[in-house]
Amino acid sequence: MNLIFGISMVSIIVFAVLLIFTFSFFGWNVVKVKNNISMGKPLDRSDRKKERLKTMLLVAFGQKKMFQNILPAVLHFFIYAAFVITSTELLEIIVDGLTGSHRFFADSLGFFYVIVISTIELLSVLAFIATIVFLARRNLLKVPRFQMDEMTGWPKLDGNIILYLEILLIVCIFTMNGTDEVLLNRGLSHAHIEGTSFGFAVSSFLGPLIFGGMETDTLVVLERIGWWGHLIMVFGFLNYLPYSKHFHILLAFPNTYFSNLNQKGQFNNLSNVKKEVENMFDPNFDPYVAPPEGEAIAEPERFGAKDVQDLTWKSLMDAYTCTECGRCSSACPANQTGKKLSPRKIMMDTRDRMVEVGDNRRIKGKDYDDGKSLLGDYITQEEVWACTSCNACVQECPVNIDPLSIIVDLRRYLVMEESKVPGELATMLTNIENNGAPWQFSPADRANWINEE
């Protein structure tokens, strides 16, 4: 009795430590992510709340944009649903772990408990199938969008790791439920319920089938391995998220809520440029007037974006939300015709650079400059100029990411700050400035067509 008590005390302590560690580490990462996103420039997305909520429910919760391609959408939905439903079980894990109880809710919830666990089991089976298909699709079928240049090394591993973890998790769940079922059959489960079967949809059959012939001692050990394995997987997964493309399962919600609700063709007007141009048009404006006494002369703001701090916070949130699915790049006309540009890579570069700058700031101080920048060290000019601004990437993204706005901000920096613009575009711009047309025609000839044959 004392030994068992001792063991359960130890396991409660181990569990408590694990729990505290999991949530503090996750909390620390959340703060880090929040700080990184806040490095971005302000942008007001607090309007049209109803429409935003609706967008979020449709796109993130209902996965509306995924369902344009039915098979991957359904498979992805199985994994997503299994994840969401399995998370509710976390509550029982925590209660059991901290009190040493076993299936705390089994007794009080009764039949409802059977329904919940059965749903988890059924979804787990579906998720298991989906995971196998996804692994095959990623590694055997060579779907083009998973084979592009940016999908080597860590991104590729990241995509696979999660699928392996998913399989492990499901194996643990069925080991736990299956062995417990057999133990209950033998009247030896620690669960406080009447009867000799839990009646769960899958494990009440699968359990006896796989574990029925095993010794009770083995079952007890396997059951514990299943329980601990399953919870370690969930805790591990939670802390893996912030380092992975799988962070989208959380960020998809705020990211779609804060979507751009304007027409996709509408580019924002730079307010600092607007002010300057308005002054030029204002006959009463005197550029030599000194600012009023006491008002500090603000350092002029940079036009466009050279580094991640010049992007809006929404672009940075976009980068954290990117699932690296590549739907954008496979729809991109530039990418399809062999140009270097890949909108997915734009998002991945932005994220990598944001994490780098964030870490630098934390470790080496706020003003530390590592001499690198998003434009140049991560994204090349060649990529930036290959975009046709066609919005296909924006249209296709299942979590409403806008790679185009980043590309435009980088162009703005190149043109307005560095005058680095392809020669023909420089000519085009001069023509507009001088003749009011992108070609070299005189404005006086603009109406000539009327009288031409």
Partner: protein, 263 residues
């Protein structure tokens, strides 16, 4: 076939104490590009036929600034925008029709924040409205039974979610309207947008317009219909690339409607 067209400028109209029902924003392409000028004329003929009291700005029109904005030059864009807004507001313009989705998008979406508020429509939307009002009647004419495929301009389609207006018009031609494998929100760009029209493409293994023309030729159309002067150029070049000029013609929706009406 009547060749005489009547194109008053707003200034002339105002001088006569009249105000236009709608301003026709011709655009740089429509004013200067030889191919696009034909589209402009087709629209004018249709407007004349329907007795729409329209006017153009003539020499007072200037680039909307779209290519400058897409190329990243906000200064040039805003200089153009504010200058145009001064002219438009000077004439108290309320309603504008354009034949170019780029002008359309810029005037409609990007001018309001700079103080220019107008009701802006694309010519395919105007033609539809004229049909609905009973002012324009179309019969299939030479297009009867022909196969037509419509290429969605990015700045009309995805950028402004207008997919139906051009299709509704084409359906009136008694022709067979076939969709390419990628169309509407999935339509592929012709390769001209984002100021690409004015520069060589970056290094790659194919031109975008060739890729897109392939989509179009796949359905073996007699006509590729467009709603944008730049798409028109790109698709025409694409058809030439495949040496299919004899089988497939590239026309703007407005040209087809004008042809069908014997204009």
């Amino acid at each position: 076939m009547s060749n005489s067209i009547s194109v008053p400028t707003v200034a002339q109209m105002m001088a006569n104490g009249e105000t236009p029902e709608i301003l026709f924003w011709v655009g740089c392409s429509g004013s200067f590009d030889d191919r696009a000028k034909k589209i402009t004329k087709a629209i004018v003929k249709l407007l004349n036929k329907c007795e729409v009291k329209f006017a153009v700005l003539g020499q007072e029109e200037s680039c909307t600034g779209d290519p400058a904005k897409r190329a990243g030059n906000e200064f040039t864009f805003m200089m153009q925008a504010m200058q145009n807004i001064q002219v438009l507001d000077g004439y108290q313009i309320k309603k504008i029709v354009t034949a170019c989705p780029h002008c359309f998008n810029t005037l409609k979406n990007e001018y309001p924040e700079l103080g220019g508020n107008y009701d802006v429509i694309h010519h395919t939307q105007l033609l539809n409205a004229l049909i609905r009002e009973g002012r324009l009647k179309i019969e299939g004419g030479s297009f009867k039974g022909k196969k037509i495929t419509f290429h969605d301009p990015c700045y009309l389609g995805r950028a402004n979610e207008e997919y139906e207006a051009p299709r509704e018009l084409l359906q009136k031609l008694d022709a067979e309207l076939v969709e390419m494998k990628r169309s509407k929100s999935k339509g592929l760009c012709c390769g001209a947008g984002g100021a690409q029209m004015f520069k060589e493409a970056e290094k790659g293994d194919k031109e975008v317009n060739v890729e897109r023309t392939e989509d179009a030729l796949e359905v073996k159309p007699n006509y590729i219909a467009t709603g944008c002067p730049f798409c028109n150029t790109m698709m025409t070049d694409g058809v030439k690339f495949f040496e299919k000029e004899n089988e497939t013609a590239v026309l703007d929706v407005a040209e087809m409607i004008a042809n069908a009406s014997d204009l």
